[in-house]
């Protein structure tokens, strides 16, 4: 069967990133994906401080901020940065995210490789009382 190599070529790392992001966000206890410095700098562009100040600064981050995926020889490696809800134990949440992503990746026909999860923040979910205008993060 030559199905797997074909699928590997058909399934882009972007698609896996999208799946991994959705899977993480559907896992109880995950508040959001956490974009990193690298993504943010790409997102903001290489402007000077002045350009930053004068440009429109309230744009939204790229769709896959916080997810990095590489697909090689039918194996998908996923690295995901998340913020978790303080009502949950962060380690358990991260563990659940890993398991779910492993399962989701398998369903695409690819083989899950290294699935790395980083919990970058542990917070209370925003409530109506403390809600603030959305920040770029």
């Amino acid at each position: 069967m030559s199905e797997h190599p074909l699928e590997a070529r058909l399934i882009s790392s972007d698609l896996i990133a999208d799946l991994a992001a959705r899977t993480a966000l559907d896992t109880p206890g995950v508040l959001r994906l956490e974009p990193t410095l690298k993504n943010l700098l790409i997102h903001l562009g290489k402007g000077t401080l002045q350009n930053l100040r004068r440009a429109e600064t309230r744009t939204t981050p790229a769709r896959h901020d916080g997810v990095f995926v590489t697909v090689h020889h039918g194996i998908a490696d996923v690295q995901l940065d998340i913020a978790t809800d303080i009502a949950f134990a962060a380690l358990n949440v991260a563990q659940a995210v890993r398991e779910q992503i492993t399962r989701t990746v398998s369903h695409t026909g690819l083989t899950p490789g290294r699935i790395d999860i980083s919990v970058l923040a542990i917070e209370h979910p925003p409530t109506a009382a403390t809600a603030r205008p959305p920040t770029p993060l």
Binding site: L41, L52, R54, R58, A83, A90, I122
Partner: protein
Amino acid sequence: MAIDETNPRLGCGRSIDEVWATINQPPTAHENGCAPCRTARGSLAKLAEAARTLRDNDAEDPSLQPHHAVKDAIMNLARAEVRRGNRLPVFQSGQGGITISEQAITSVIWFGTDALPGVRGRRCRVHADPATADALRPAGTAGISVDLRIAVASDTDIPGTAELLRQRIITMITGHVGLNAGTVNITVEDFYDV
């Protein structure tokens, strides 16, 4: 003295500093009788009044604030360069692992300090326990150690509060992080209310 060279003097030999020092008091006998002192007092008093007006006016003047884009730019840069501290490895396997940032754990610890009256959590360092740092760790077995600096209210029972806080931090790290805080060092660095 250097001060004499730099401090302007009046015709009578007194320095501007001396006149300034008593500007809010009634004039002395010398000042009443001395023309240069009287003039200096008059103009310095006017200056003091103008300085007060400027200080009060500027502090309240809404136009003497930077444009809001200045703060936006500063905060965007701070977010882009946000410091999360180390990423502590808390689970490792051949198929990847889990890290938790020092800052995530620190914020849980601050939640703990903020709930205790009379305690303010300040700087915090978190380390992975050296004993297990290099081993392959199954979930739930990783240990960490915490170094926390706090300020307390001056009427705080320090030993009792520190012990309460230590227990609280251990409980919170188990419940909200899923780790075991084997060592919690607390240093009281300041009274925040004196």
